[in-house]
Protein backbone atom coordinates (compact mmCIF):
# COMPACT_ATOMS: atom_id res chain seq x y z
CA UNK A 1 0.00 0.00 0.00
CA UNK A 2 1.37 3.44 -0.88
CA UNK A 3 1.90 6.07 1.81
CA UNK A 4 -0.74 8.75 2.34
CA UNK A 5 -0.19 12.33 1.15
CA UNK A 6 1.27 14.36 4.00
CA UNK A 7 3.07 17.54 5.00
CA UNK A 8 6.68 17.33 6.10
CA UNK A 9 6.23 20.08 8.72
CA UNK A 10 3.86 21.30 11.42
CA UNK A 11 1.49 23.97 10.11
CA UNK A 12 0.32 24.80 13.64
CA UNK A 13 3.65 26.27 14.68
CA UNK A 14 3.45 30.04 15.16
CA UNK A 15 4.88 32.39 12.55
CA UNK A 16 6.70 31.09 9.46
CA UNK A 17 7.10 27.41 8.82
CA UNK A 18 8.02 25.74 5.58
CA UNK A 19 8.44 22.33 4.04
CA UNK A 20 6.74 20.16 1.48
CA UNK A 21 3.45 18.52 0.62
CA UNK A 22 4.35 14.97 -0.37
CA UNK A 23 2.26 13.48 -3.17
CA UNK A 24 2.84 9.71 -2.98
CA UNK A 25 4.44 7.83 -5.83
CA UNK A 26 2.35 5.76 -8.19
CA UNK A 27 2.76 3.51 -11.19
CA UNK A 28 3.52 6.50 -13.45
CA UNK A 29 6.08 8.47 -11.43
CA UNK A 30 7.95 8.87 -8.15
CA UNK A 31 6.61 10.85 -5.21
CA UNK A 32 6.43 14.63 -5.74
CA UNK A 33 7.45 17.18 -3.09
CA UNK A 34 5.55 20.46 -3.50
CA UNK A 35 7.15 23.37 -1.59
CA UNK A 36 4.66 24.88 0.90
CA UNK A 37 4.98 27.66 3.44
CA UNK A 38 2.65 28.75 6.16
CA UNK A 39 2.38 31.96 8.15
CA UNK A 40 0.49 31.39 11.35
CA UNK A 41 -0.39 34.51 13.32
CA UNK A 42 -3.14 33.02 15.53
CA UNK A 43 -6.87 33.64 15.36
CA UNK A 44 -8.34 34.96 12.14
CA UNK A 45 -9.13 33.98 8.57
CA UNK A 46 -7.71 30.72 7.27
CA UNK A 47 -6.50 31.28 3.71
CA UNK A 48 -5.00 28.90 1.16
CA UNK A 49 -3.18 30.43 -1.84
CA UNK A 50 -2.26 28.15 -4.73
CA UNK A 51 -0.50 28.78 -8.06
CA UNK A 52 0.78 26.72 -10.95
CA UNK A 53 -2.29 24.51 -11.43
CA UNK A 54 -1.59 24.86 -15.17
CA UNK A 55 2.06 24.80 -16.16
CA UNK A 56 1.87 27.54 -18.80
CA UNK A 57 0.48 30.15 -16.38
CA UNK A 58 3.46 31.45 -14.45
CA UNK A 59 2.24 34.76 -12.99
CA UNK A 60 0.62 32.86 -10.10
CA UNK A 61 3.76 30.99 -9.04
CA UNK A 62 5.80 34.21 -9.23
CA UNK A 63 3.35 36.31 -7.20
CA UNK A 64 2.87 33.45 -4.68
CA UNK A 65 6.62 32.97 -4.31
CA UNK A 66 7.08 36.70 -3.75
CA UNK A 67 4.72 36.47 -0.72
CA UNK A 68 7.55 34.63 1.01
CA UNK A 69 9.48 37.90 0.92
CA UNK A 70 6.92 40.46 2.14
CA UNK A 71 4.17 38.58 3.98
CA UNK A 72 6.12 37.72 7.19
CA UNK A 73 6.38 41.46 7.94
CA UNK A 74 2.90 42.38 6.73
CA UNK A 75 0.55 39.72 8.10
CA UNK A 76 -1.07 40.54 11.44
CA UNK A 77 -3.45 37.64 12.21
CA UNK A 78 -4.91 34.37 10.92
CA UNK A 79 -3.11 31.77 8.87
CA UNK A 80 -2.03 31.80 5.22
CA UNK A 81 -0.79 28.62 3.56
CA UNK A 82 0.96 29.14 0.22
CA UNK A 83 1.67 26.55 -2.48
CA UNK A 84 3.26 28.44 -5.41
CA UNK A 85 3.31 25.42 -7.73
CA UNK A 86 0.58 22.79 -7.54
CA UNK A 87 1.71 20.97 -10.67
CA UNK A 88 5.52 20.86 -10.97
CA UNK A 89 5.64 18.44 -13.95
CA UNK A 90 3.40 20.79 -15.99
CA UNK A 91 5.46 23.88 -15.07
CA UNK A 92 8.69 22.10 -16.04
CA UNK A 93 7.17 21.30 -19.42
CA UNK A 94 5.40 24.70 -19.76
CA UNK A 95 2.16 22.89 -20.64
CA UNK A 96 -1.40 23.39 -19.43
CA UNK A 97 -1.94 19.71 -18.71
CA UNK A 98 0.41 17.37 -16.86
CA UNK A 99 2.68 15.79 -19.49
CA UNK A 100 2.89 12.46 -17.65
CA UNK A 101 -0.80 11.54 -17.88
CA UNK A 102 -2.15 14.34 -20.10
CA UNK A 103 -4.71 15.40 -17.50
CA UNK A 104 -5.89 18.92 -16.58
CA UNK A 105 -5.43 19.28 -12.80
CA UNK A 106 -8.42 21.62 -12.65
CA UNK A 107 -10.72 18.89 -13.99
CA UNK A 108 -9.83 16.01 -11.67
CA UNK A 109 -10.70 17.33 -8.19
CA UNK A 110 -11.13 15.84 -5.59
CA UNK A 111 -8.68 13.41 -7.19
CA UNK A 112 -7.92 9.78 -6.39
CA UNK A 113 -5.22 8.35 -4.14
CA UNK A 114 -4.81 5.37 -6.50
CA UNK A 115 -5.04 7.43 -9.70
CA UNK A 116 -2.43 8.84 -12.05
CA UNK A 117 -0.13 11.66 -10.92
CA UNK A 118 -2.53 14.55 -11.64
CA UNK A 119 -5.27 12.77 -9.68
CA UNK A 120 -2.85 12.11 -6.83
CA UNK A 121 -1.92 15.83 -6.66
CA UNK A 122 -5.62 16.75 -6.48
CA UNK A 123 -6.19 14.10 -3.81
CA UNK A 124 -3.26 15.37 -1.72
CA UNK A 125 -4.47 18.99 -1.89
CA UNK A 126 -8.11 18.06 -1.23
CA UNK A 127 -7.31 15.93 1.80
CA UNK A 128 -4.38 17.77 3.34
CA UNK A 129 -4.70 21.51 2.66
CA UNK A 130 -8.27 22.31 1.62
CA UNK A 131 -9.80 21.29 5.00
CA UNK A 132 -7.56 23.88 6.70
CA UNK A 133 -8.95 26.84 4.71
CA UNK A 134 -12.14 28.88 4.80
CA UNK A 135 -11.01 30.92 1.77
CA UNK A 136 -9.01 29.87 -1.30
CA UNK A 137 -7.25 32.07 -3.88
CA UNK A 138 -6.21 29.98 -6.88
CA UNK A 139 -3.86 32.02 -9.08
CA UNK A 140 -4.31 31.28 -12.79
CA UNK A 141 -3.62 33.15 -16.02
CA UNK A 142 -5.20 32.75 -19.42
CA UNK A 143 -2.31 31.05 -21.17
CA UNK A 144 0.23 32.16 -23.73
CA UNK A 145 -1.92 32.59 -26.83
CA UNK A 146 -4.64 34.84 -25.37
CA UNK A 147 -4.88 38.48 -24.39
CA UNK A 148 -6.89 38.85 -21.18
CA UNK A 149 -7.11 41.68 -18.62
CA UNK A 150 -6.03 41.07 -15.00
CA UNK A 151 -9.19 39.72 -13.39
CA UNK A 152 -10.63 38.03 -10.36
CA UNK A 153 -13.26 35.55 -11.46
CA UNK A 154 -15.97 33.36 -10.08
CA UNK A 155 -18.78 31.25 -11.43
CA UNK A 156 -22.45 31.52 -10.52
CA UNK A 157 -23.05 29.66 -7.22
CA UNK A 158 -26.44 28.20 -6.27
CA UNK A 159 -26.27 29.36 -2.62
CA UNK A 160 -27.09 33.12 -2.77
CA UNK A 161 -25.26 33.91 0.48
CA UNK A 162 -22.04 32.22 -0.67
CA UNK A 163 -22.45 33.86 -4.09
CA UNK A 164 -22.68 37.33 -2.51
CA UNK A 165 -19.69 36.68 -0.23
CA UNK A 166 -17.66 35.33 -3.13
CA UNK A 167 -18.47 38.26 -5.43
CA UNK A 168 -17.61 40.73 -2.67
CA UNK A 169 -14.26 38.97 -2.14
CA UNK A 170 -13.57 38.92 -5.90
CA UNK A 171 -14.24 42.67 -6.13
CA UNK A 172 -11.97 43.28 -3.13
CA UNK A 173 -8.95 42.47 -5.31
CA UNK A 174 -9.75 45.79 -7.05
CA UNK A 175 -8.27 44.39 -10.23
CA UNK A 176 -9.26 46.10 -13.49
CA UNK A 177 -11.92 43.44 -14.03
CA UNK A 178 -14.12 41.17 -11.96
CA UNK A 179 -15.81 38.47 -14.01
CA UNK A 180 -18.76 36.21 -13.24
CA UNK A 181 -18.30 33.46 -15.70
CA UNK A 182 -21.16 31.11 -16.47
CA UNK A 183 -20.00 28.06 -18.29
CA UNK A 184 -21.32 24.57 -18.71
CA UNK A 185 -20.55 22.67 -15.52
CA UNK A 186 -17.09 21.19 -15.96
CA UNK A 187 -16.68 18.35 -13.49
CA UNK A 188 -13.60 18.14 -11.34
CA UNK A 189 -12.89 21.86 -10.87
CA UNK A 190 -11.09 22.93 -7.69
CA UNK A 191 -13.56 25.85 -7.47
CA UNK A 192 -16.63 23.64 -7.31
CA UNK A 193 -15.14 21.31 -4.72
CA UNK A 194 -14.30 24.21 -2.40
CA UNK A 195 -17.62 25.98 -2.96
CA UNK A 196 -19.56 22.78 -2.25
CA UNK A 197 -17.82 22.80 1.13
CA UNK A 198 -19.07 26.37 1.74
CA UNK A 199 -15.72 28.03 1.18
CA UNK A 200 -15.10 31.33 -0.61
CA UNK A 201 -13.05 30.45 -3.71
CA UNK A 202 -11.61 33.11 -6.02
CA UNK A 203 -9.91 32.22 -9.26
CA UNK A 204 -7.59 35.08 -10.19
CA UNK A 205 -6.97 35.11 -13.92
CA UNK A 206 -3.80 37.12 -14.04
CA UNK A 207 -3.92 37.95 -17.74
CA UNK A 208 -2.63 36.11 -20.76
CA UNK A 209 0.40 36.25 -22.98
CA UNK A 210 3.57 37.78 -21.70
CA UNK A 211 4.50 37.74 -18.00
CA UNK A 212 5.96 41.21 -17.66
CA UNK A 213 7.12 43.53 -14.92
CA UNK A 214 4.10 45.86 -15.04
CA UNK A 215 1.62 42.99 -15.03
CA UNK A 216 3.24 41.36 -12.00
CA UNK A 217 2.98 44.66 -10.12
CA UNK A 218 -0.78 44.77 -10.86
CA UNK A 219 -1.28 41.17 -9.71
CA UNK A 220 0.66 41.70 -6.51
CA UNK A 221 -1.29 44.87 -5.74
CA UNK A 222 -4.55 42.96 -6.33
CA UNK A 223 -3.53 40.17 -4.00
CA UNK A 224 -2.48 42.68 -1.32
CA UNK A 225 -5.88 44.39 -1.65
CA UNK A 226 -7.61 41.06 -1.08
CA UNK A 227 -5.46 40.29 1.98
CA UNK A 228 -6.32 43.72 3.41
CA UNK A 229 -10.03 43.08 2.77
CA UNK A 230 -9.76 39.77 4.64
CA UNK A 231 -8.15 41.57 7.59
CA UNK A 232 -4.93 39.57 7.31
CA UNK A 233 -2.78 42.54 6.35
CA UNK A 234 -3.06 46.19 7.40
CA UNK A 235 -3.10 48.97 4.87
CA UNK A 236 -5.21 50.93 2.45
CA UNK A 237 -6.37 49.10 -0.65
CA UNK A 238 -5.79 50.89 -3.94
CA UNK A 239 -6.78 50.30 -7.56
CA UNK A 240 -3.72 49.31 -9.55
CA UNK A 241 -3.04 51.33 -12.70
CA UNK A 242 -3.90 49.44 -15.88
CA UNK A 243 -3.36 51.13 -19.24
CA UNK A 244 -2.73 54.48 -17.56
CA UNK A 245 -6.05 54.30 -15.72
CA UNK A 246 -7.33 53.19 -12.34
CA UNK A 247 -10.40 51.34 -13.57
CA UNK A 248 -12.61 48.62 -12.20
CA UNK A 249 -15.63 46.92 -13.67
CA UNK A 250 -17.69 43.82 -12.91
CA UNK A 251 -18.83 41.90 -15.97
CA UNK A 252 -20.63 38.69 -16.74
CA UNK A 253 -20.17 36.27 -19.58
CA UNK A 254 -21.83 33.04 -20.67
CA UNK A 255 -19.61 30.49 -22.30
CA UNK A 256 -22.51 29.10 -24.34
CA UNK A 257 -23.30 32.33 -26.20
CA UNK A 258 -20.41 34.69 -25.54
CA UNK A 259 -17.51 32.57 -26.71
CA UNK A 260 -16.89 33.33 -30.38
CA UNK A 261 -15.55 30.46 -32.43
CA UNK A 262 -13.71 30.33 -35.70
CA UNK A 263 -15.82 28.97 -38.57
CA UNK A 264 -12.66 27.95 -40.44
CA UNK A 265 -9.01 27.02 -40.16
CA UNK A 266 -6.30 29.64 -40.35
CA UNK A 267 -4.15 32.24 -38.68
CA UNK A 268 -6.21 34.45 -36.39
CA UNK A 269 -5.62 38.19 -36.46
CA UNK A 270 -7.14 40.21 -33.59
CA UNK A 271 -8.84 43.34 -34.98
CA UNK A 272 -9.60 44.85 -31.59
CA UNK A 273 -8.14 44.94 -28.09
CA UNK A 274 -9.41 43.52 -24.81
CA UNK A 275 -11.97 45.80 -23.13
CA UNK A 276 -12.94 47.47 -26.41
CA UNK A 277 -16.68 48.07 -26.67
CA UNK A 278 -18.16 46.57 -29.83
CA UNK A 279 -21.57 46.80 -31.50
CA UNK A 280 -23.45 44.00 -33.22
CA UNK A 281 -21.70 43.24 -36.51
CA UNK A 282 -18.39 44.93 -35.67
CA UNK A 283 -15.35 42.98 -36.83
CA UNK A 284 -13.52 41.42 -33.87
CA UNK A 285 -10.93 39.51 -35.85
CA UNK A 286 -10.01 37.84 -39.12
CA UNK A 287 -9.04 34.26 -39.89
CA UNK A 288 -6.69 33.85 -42.85
CA UNK A 289 -6.81 30.43 -44.52
CA UNK A 290 -3.26 29.34 -45.18
CA UNK A 291 -3.87 27.16 -48.23
CA UNK A 292 -4.45 29.77 -50.89
CA UNK A 293 -5.11 33.41 -51.66
CA UNK A 294 -8.22 32.27 -53.49
CA UNK A 295 -9.93 31.80 -50.14
CA UNK A 296 -11.00 35.10 -48.62
CA UNK A 297 -10.28 36.08 -45.05
CA UNK A 298 -13.09 35.04 -42.70
CA UNK A 299 -14.30 37.85 -40.45
CA UNK A 300 -15.50 37.20 -36.91
CA UNK A 301 -18.17 39.69 -35.88
CA UNK A 302 -19.69 40.74 -32.56
CA UNK A 303 -23.04 38.98 -32.00
CA UNK A 304 -24.37 41.91 -29.97
CA UNK A 305 -23.28 45.07 -28.19
CA UNK A 306 -20.71 43.89 -25.70
CA UNK A 307 -17.21 44.27 -24.30
CA UNK A 308 -14.36 42.18 -25.69
CA UNK A 309 -13.05 40.36 -22.63
CA UNK A 310 -10.52 37.95 -24.06
CA UNK A 311 -9.05 37.70 -27.52
CA UNK A 312 -6.81 35.12 -29.12
CA UNK A 313 -3.32 36.20 -29.99
CA UNK A 314 -0.74 34.51 -32.12
CA UNK A 315 -2.45 31.28 -32.94
CA UNK A 316 -3.30 29.05 -35.84
CA UNK A 317 -6.88 28.08 -35.07
CA UNK A 318 -8.99 25.14 -36.07
CA UNK A 319 -12.68 25.03 -36.98
CA UNK A 320 -14.82 25.71 -33.89
CA UNK A 321 -11.82 26.81 -31.83
CA UNK A 322 -12.51 29.80 -29.56
CA UNK A 323 -11.03 33.13 -30.67
CA UNK A 324 -12.74 35.65 -28.40
CA UNK A 325 -14.95 35.99 -25.33
CA UNK A 326 -17.35 38.91 -24.97
CA UNK A 327 -19.06 40.12 -21.80
CA UNK A 328 -21.58 42.60 -20.43
CA UNK A 329 -21.83 44.71 -17.28
CA UNK A 330 -23.20 42.70 -14.37
CA UNK A 331 -26.25 44.24 -12.74
CA UNK A 332 -25.96 43.57 -9.03
Amino acid sequence: MSEAPHLTFDLDKPDMSKGHLVVPKGADCEALSLPVFSLNKGEGPQLLITGGCHGDELEGPIVARRLFEWLPEAQTCGRIIVVPVLNPPAVLACTRNTPIDGLNLNRVFPGRSDGSVTERIADAVSRTLLPLADTVFDLHSFGLTWDFPPSSTTHPIADPILMAKTLQMAEAFKLPMTLVWEHPGSPGMFDTLAQNQGKVFICAEFGGGTVNFDAIAIYEAGLRNALIALGLVEGKPDYPTFRQQKVTQTLETRRSSDELKSPGRGIFEPRCSVLDEVKQGDIIGAVYPMDSFAADAIYIRAPQTSIVYAIRSGAYVDVEEGVALVARTLNH
Copy 2:
Protein backbone atom coordinates in the same frame (compact mmCIF):
# COMPACT_ATOMS: atom_id res chain seq x y z
CA MET B 1 13.72 11.49 -59.67
CA SER B 2 11.57 14.02 -57.85
CA GLU B 3 10.22 17.09 -59.63
CA ALA B 4 12.01 20.41 -59.19
CA PRO B 5 10.58 23.17 -56.98
CA HIS B 6 8.49 25.52 -59.10
CA LEU B 7 5.87 28.24 -59.15
CA THR B 8 2.38 27.41 -60.42
CA PHE B 9 1.97 30.85 -62.03
CA ASP B 10 3.78 33.44 -64.11
CA LEU B 11 5.41 36.10 -61.95
CA ASP B 12 6.15 38.27 -64.98
CA LYS B 13 2.48 39.02 -65.66
CA PRO B 14 1.65 42.66 -64.97
CA ASP B 15 -0.23 43.62 -61.81
CA MET B 16 -1.47 41.01 -59.37
CA SER B 17 -0.85 37.34 -59.90
CA LYS B 18 -1.13 34.57 -57.38
CA GLY B 19 -0.55 30.87 -57.01
CA HIS B 20 1.80 28.56 -55.18
CA LEU B 21 5.43 27.68 -54.72
CA VAL B 22 5.57 23.89 -54.91
CA VAL B 23 8.11 22.23 -52.62
CA PRO B 24 8.55 18.70 -53.99
CA LYS B 25 7.65 15.68 -51.92
CA GLY B 26 10.31 13.61 -50.25
CA ALA B 27 10.65 10.52 -48.10
CA ASP B 28 9.24 12.36 -45.06
CA CYS B 29 6.16 14.10 -46.48
CA GLU B 30 4.09 14.96 -49.53
CA ALA B 31 4.73 18.04 -51.67
CA LEU B 32 3.90 21.36 -50.01
CA SER B 33 2.13 24.25 -51.77
CA LEU B 34 3.08 27.61 -50.29
CA PRO B 35 0.69 30.43 -51.28
CA VAL B 36 2.55 33.25 -53.07
CA PHE B 37 1.38 36.46 -54.65
CA SER B 38 3.20 38.94 -56.79
CA LEU B 39 2.51 42.55 -57.65
CA ASN B 40 4.32 43.52 -60.81
CA LYS B 41 4.25 47.22 -61.67
CA GLY B 42 7.17 47.28 -64.12
CA GLU B 43 10.61 48.78 -63.62
CA GLY B 44 11.84 49.39 -60.10
CA PRO B 45 13.03 47.61 -56.99
CA GLN B 46 12.60 43.86 -56.81
CA LEU B 47 11.46 42.95 -53.31
CA LEU B 48 10.77 39.59 -51.68
CA ILE B 49 8.74 39.58 -48.44
CA THR B 50 8.60 36.36 -46.43
CA GLY B 51 6.90 35.43 -43.15
CA GLY B 52 6.34 32.31 -41.11
CA CYS B 53 9.91 30.97 -41.20
CA HIS B 54 9.32 29.97 -37.55
CA GLY B 55 5.86 28.61 -36.77
CA ASP B 56 5.42 30.37 -33.42
CA GLU B 57 5.96 33.86 -34.87
CA LEU B 58 2.66 34.85 -36.43
CA GLU B 59 2.88 38.63 -36.75
CA GLY B 60 4.81 38.22 -40.00
CA PRO B 61 2.25 36.00 -41.72
CA ILE B 62 -0.57 38.33 -40.63
CA VAL B 63 1.14 41.53 -41.83
CA ALA B 64 2.26 39.83 -45.07
CA ARG B 65 -1.25 38.49 -45.73
CA ARG B 66 -2.71 41.95 -45.12
CA LEU B 67 -0.53 43.30 -47.97
CA PHE B 68 -2.84 41.40 -50.29
CA GLU B 69 -5.56 43.84 -49.28
CA TRP B 70 -3.83 47.23 -49.53
CA LEU B 71 -0.78 46.82 -51.74
CA PRO B 72 -2.57 46.51 -55.14
CA GLU B 73 -3.85 50.08 -54.69
CA ALA B 74 -0.70 51.47 -53.13
CA GLN B 75 2.19 50.10 -55.15
CA THR B 76 3.39 52.33 -58.01
CA CYS B 77 6.40 50.55 -59.53
CA GLY B 78 8.75 47.56 -59.27
CA ARG B 79 7.81 44.07 -58.19
CA ILE B 80 6.93 42.69 -54.76
CA ILE B 81 6.68 38.94 -54.22
CA VAL B 82 5.02 37.92 -50.96
CA VAL B 83 5.14 34.52 -49.23
CA PRO B 84 3.24 34.92 -45.93
CA VAL B 85 4.10 31.44 -44.66
CA LEU B 86 7.44 29.84 -45.54
CA ASN B 87 6.98 26.90 -43.18
CA PRO B 88 3.35 25.69 -43.09
CA PRO B 89 4.01 22.53 -41.00
CA ALA B 90 5.64 24.64 -38.25
CA VAL B 91 2.79 27.20 -38.26
CA LEU B 92 0.20 24.42 -38.02
CA ALA B 93 2.03 23.06 -34.98
CA CYS B 94 2.84 26.54 -33.55
CA THR B 95 6.47 25.48 -33.14
CA ARG B 96 9.74 27.25 -33.98
CA ASN B 97 11.18 24.25 -35.78
CA THR B 98 9.46 22.07 -38.36
CA PRO B 99 7.82 19.21 -36.43
CA ILE B 100 8.44 16.67 -39.22
CA ASP B 101 12.24 16.76 -39.13
CA GLY B 102 12.90 18.97 -36.10
CA LEU B 103 14.95 21.46 -38.14
CA ASN B 104 15.11 25.25 -37.87
CA LEU B 105 14.39 26.62 -41.36
CA ASN B 106 16.64 29.60 -40.66
CA ARG B 107 19.65 27.32 -40.14
CA VAL B 108 19.45 25.16 -43.27
CA PHE B 109 19.78 27.67 -46.13
CA PRO B 110 20.48 27.24 -49.05
CA GLY B 111 18.83 23.87 -48.38
CA ARG B 112 19.04 20.60 -50.29
CA SER B 113 16.72 19.27 -52.98
CA ASP B 114 17.22 15.72 -51.68
CA GLY B 115 17.04 16.67 -48.00
CA SER B 116 14.26 16.53 -45.43
CA VAL B 117 11.24 18.82 -45.72
CA THR B 118 12.82 21.88 -44.06
CA GLU B 119 15.84 21.60 -46.34
CA ARG B 120 13.55 21.21 -49.36
CA ILE B 121 11.66 24.41 -48.41
CA ALA B 122 14.98 26.30 -48.15
CA ASP B 123 16.10 24.86 -51.47
CA ALA B 124 12.85 25.89 -53.18
CA VAL B 125 13.06 29.46 -51.86
CA SER B 126 16.78 29.78 -52.62
CA ARG B 127 16.43 28.56 -56.19
CA THR B 128 13.05 29.94 -57.21
CA LEU B 129 12.39 33.22 -55.38
CA LEU B 130 15.66 34.59 -54.01
CA PRO B 131 17.25 35.11 -57.47
CA LEU B 132 14.32 37.40 -58.37
CA ALA B 133 14.95 39.87 -55.54
CA ASP B 134 17.47 42.60 -54.85
CA THR B 135 15.99 43.24 -51.39
CA VAL B 136 14.48 40.79 -48.87
CA PHE B 137 12.32 41.53 -45.82
CA ASP B 138 12.01 38.43 -43.67
CA LEU B 139 9.30 38.98 -41.04
CA HIS B 140 10.11 37.28 -37.73
CA SER B 141 9.09 37.80 -34.10
CA PHE B 142 10.87 36.83 -30.93
CA GLY B 143 8.61 33.96 -29.93
CA LEU B 144 5.97 33.52 -27.25
CA THR B 145 8.05 33.55 -24.09
CA TRP B 146 10.02 36.76 -24.67
CA ASP B 147 9.24 40.44 -24.48
CA PHE B 148 10.91 42.30 -27.34
CA PRO B 149 10.28 45.73 -28.89
CA PRO B 150 9.23 45.99 -32.55
CA SER B 151 12.58 46.10 -34.36
CA SER B 152 14.27 45.87 -37.69
CA THR B 153 17.52 44.00 -37.31
CA THR B 154 20.65 43.13 -39.18
CA HIS B 155 23.96 41.52 -38.42
CA PRO B 156 27.39 43.05 -39.05
CA ILE B 157 28.29 42.54 -42.74
CA ALA B 158 31.91 42.40 -43.95
CA ASP B 159 31.27 44.54 -47.06
CA PRO B 160 31.06 48.14 -45.74
CA ILE B 161 28.93 49.37 -48.64
CA LEU B 162 26.35 46.63 -48.22
CA MET B 163 26.45 47.17 -44.43
CA ALA B 164 25.68 50.90 -44.86
CA LYS B 165 22.87 50.19 -47.36
CA THR B 166 21.42 47.53 -45.09
CA LEU B 167 21.52 49.71 -41.97
CA GLN B 168 19.91 52.58 -43.88
CA MET B 169 17.14 50.24 -45.04
CA ALA B 170 16.66 48.86 -41.52
CA GLU B 171 16.31 52.38 -40.12
CA ALA B 172 13.83 53.27 -42.88
CA PHE B 173 11.25 51.03 -41.19
CA LYS B 174 11.20 53.76 -38.49
CA LEU B 175 10.29 51.09 -35.96
CA PRO B 176 10.92 51.92 -32.29
CA MET B 177 14.22 50.04 -32.49
CA THR B 178 16.85 49.19 -35.06
CA LEU B 179 19.30 46.55 -33.87
CA VAL B 180 22.70 45.51 -35.18
CA TRP B 181 23.10 42.11 -33.71
CA GLU B 182 26.51 40.50 -33.59
CA HIS B 183 26.29 36.83 -32.84
CA PRO B 184 28.51 33.85 -33.44
CA GLY B 185 28.15 32.92 -37.08
CA SER B 186 25.22 30.51 -37.29
CA PRO B 187 25.50 28.57 -40.53
CA GLY B 188 22.49 28.23 -42.77
CA MET B 189 20.79 31.57 -42.11
CA PHE B 190 18.63 33.04 -44.86
CA ASP B 191 20.22 36.45 -44.07
CA THR B 192 23.75 35.29 -44.77
CA LEU B 193 22.83 33.56 -48.01
CA ALA B 194 21.13 36.70 -49.35
CA GLN B 195 23.89 39.04 -48.14
CA ASN B 196 26.56 36.85 -49.71
CA GLN B 197 24.74 37.45 -53.00
CA GLY B 198 24.97 41.22 -52.42
CA LYS B 199 21.32 41.68 -51.53
CA VAL B 200 19.92 43.95 -48.82
CA PHE B 201 18.32 41.66 -46.25
CA ILE B 202 16.33 42.99 -43.30
CA CYS B 203 15.08 40.73 -40.56
CA ALA B 204 12.13 42.43 -38.90
CA GLU B 205 11.69 41.14 -35.37
CA PHE B 206 8.11 42.09 -34.79
CA GLY B 207 8.16 41.73 -31.00
CA GLY B 208 7.54 38.78 -28.77
CA GLY B 209 4.67 37.42 -26.72
CA THR B 210 1.17 38.37 -27.60
CA VAL B 211 0.11 39.22 -31.17
CA ASN B 212 -2.23 42.10 -30.49
CA PHE B 213 -4.09 44.76 -32.43
CA ASP B 214 -1.80 47.64 -31.46
CA ALA B 215 1.36 45.69 -32.24
CA ILE B 216 0.10 44.70 -35.69
CA ALA B 217 -0.61 48.35 -36.44
CA ILE B 218 3.01 49.23 -35.56
CA TYR B 219 4.41 46.44 -37.75
CA GLU B 220 2.25 47.39 -40.69
CA ALA B 221 3.25 51.05 -40.36
CA GLY B 222 6.92 49.98 -40.25
CA LEU B 223 6.58 47.88 -43.36
CA ARG B 224 4.78 50.72 -45.18
CA ASN B 225 7.61 53.10 -44.21
CA ALA B 226 10.14 50.69 -45.71
CA LEU B 227 8.13 50.37 -48.93
CA ILE B 228 7.97 54.16 -49.18
CA ALA B 229 11.75 54.38 -48.64
CA LEU B 230 12.28 51.86 -51.44
CA GLY B 231 10.11 53.97 -53.74
CA LEU B 232 7.55 51.20 -54.23
CA VAL B 233 4.73 53.03 -52.50
CA GLU B 234 3.98 56.76 -52.35
CA GLY B 235 3.40 58.53 -49.08
CA LYS B 236 5.00 60.13 -46.10
CA PRO B 237 6.77 57.83 -43.67
CA ASP B 238 5.88 58.31 -40.02
CA TYR B 239 7.15 56.91 -36.74
CA PRO B 240 4.55 54.57 -35.27
CA THR B 241 3.49 55.27 -31.68
CA PHE B 242 4.96 52.78 -29.21
CA ARG B 243 4.15 53.16 -25.51
CA GLN B 244 2.58 56.56 -26.09
CA GLN B 245 5.74 57.85 -27.77
CA LYS B 246 7.12 58.23 -31.26
CA VAL B 247 10.62 56.98 -30.53
CA THR B 248 13.40 55.52 -32.59
CA GLN B 249 16.85 54.32 -31.60
CA THR B 250 19.62 52.28 -33.19
CA LEU B 251 21.37 49.88 -30.83
CA GLU B 252 24.00 47.20 -31.02
CA THR B 253 24.33 43.98 -29.08
CA ARG B 254 26.82 41.13 -28.97
CA ARG B 255 25.42 37.73 -28.31
CA SER B 256 28.66 36.60 -26.67
CA SER B 257 28.67 39.18 -23.88
CA ASP B 258 25.22 40.78 -23.89
CA GLU B 259 23.05 37.70 -23.57
CA LEU B 260 22.42 37.12 -19.87
CA LYS B 261 21.99 33.51 -18.86
CA SER B 262 20.39 31.92 -15.84
CA PRO B 263 22.91 30.33 -13.45
CA GLY B 264 20.21 28.01 -12.11
CA ARG B 265 16.92 26.27 -12.81
CA GLY B 266 13.64 27.88 -11.94
CA ILE B 267 10.79 30.19 -12.83
CA PHE B 268 12.10 33.47 -14.24
CA GLU B 269 10.53 36.71 -13.05
CA PRO B 270 11.33 39.82 -15.11
CA ARG B 271 12.20 42.72 -12.75
CA CYS B 272 12.37 45.33 -15.47
CA SER B 273 10.80 46.11 -18.85
CA VAL B 274 12.26 46.14 -22.33
CA LEU B 275 14.05 49.41 -23.13
CA ASP B 276 14.69 50.20 -19.45
CA GLU B 277 18.14 51.66 -18.87
CA VAL B 278 20.10 49.72 -16.26
CA LYS B 279 23.39 50.32 -14.47
CA GLN B 280 26.02 47.74 -13.60
CA GLY B 281 24.67 45.57 -10.78
CA ASP B 282 20.98 46.50 -11.20
CA ILE B 283 18.64 43.55 -10.83
CA ILE B 284 17.16 42.55 -14.19
CA GLY B 285 15.25 39.51 -13.00
CA ALA B 286 14.95 36.74 -10.45
CA VAL B 287 15.01 32.97 -10.84
CA TYR B 288 13.00 31.06 -8.26
CA PRO B 289 14.09 27.47 -7.70
CA MET B 290 10.98 25.33 -7.55
CA ASP B 291 12.26 22.55 -5.30
CA SER B 292 12.25 24.25 -1.94
CA PHE B 293 11.94 27.52 -0.06
CA ALA B 294 15.32 26.74 1.48
CA ALA B 295 16.94 27.82 -1.79
CA ASP B 296 17.02 31.59 -2.19
CA ALA B 297 15.93 33.39 -5.32
CA ILE B 298 18.84 33.91 -7.75
CA TYR B 299 19.16 37.48 -9.00
CA ILE B 300 20.32 38.29 -12.52
CA ARG B 301 22.21 41.60 -12.61
CA ALA B 302 23.23 43.97 -15.39
CA PRO B 303 26.90 43.42 -16.32
CA GLN B 304 27.32 47.09 -17.29
CA THR B 305 25.35 50.21 -18.05
CA SER B 306 23.08 49.21 -20.90
CA ILE B 307 19.54 49.05 -22.27
CA VAL B 308 17.42 45.97 -21.72
CA TYR B 309 16.52 44.90 -25.23
CA ALA B 310 14.79 41.58 -24.73
CA ILE B 311 13.58 39.90 -21.57
CA ARG B 312 12.19 36.45 -20.93
CA SER B 313 8.57 36.27 -19.90
CA GLY B 314 6.63 33.39 -18.51
CA ALA B 315 9.16 30.63 -18.65
CA TYR B 316 10.70 27.92 -16.54
CA VAL B 317 14.37 28.24 -17.43
CA ASP B 318 17.23 25.80 -17.28
CA VAL B 319 20.86 26.40 -16.30
CA GLU B 320 22.61 28.54 -18.95
CA GLU B 321 19.34 29.36 -20.69
CA GLY B 322 19.10 32.97 -21.91
CA VAL B 323 16.84 35.29 -19.89
CA ALA B 324 17.72 38.75 -21.22
CA LEU B 325 19.62 40.57 -23.93
CA VAL B 326 21.14 43.99 -23.28
CA ALA B 327 22.33 46.53 -25.84
CA ARG B 328 24.02 49.89 -26.26
CA THR B 329 23.56 52.86 -28.58
CA LEU B 330 25.28 52.28 -31.91
CA ASN B 331 27.73 55.00 -32.86
CA HIS B 332 27.46 55.43 -36.60
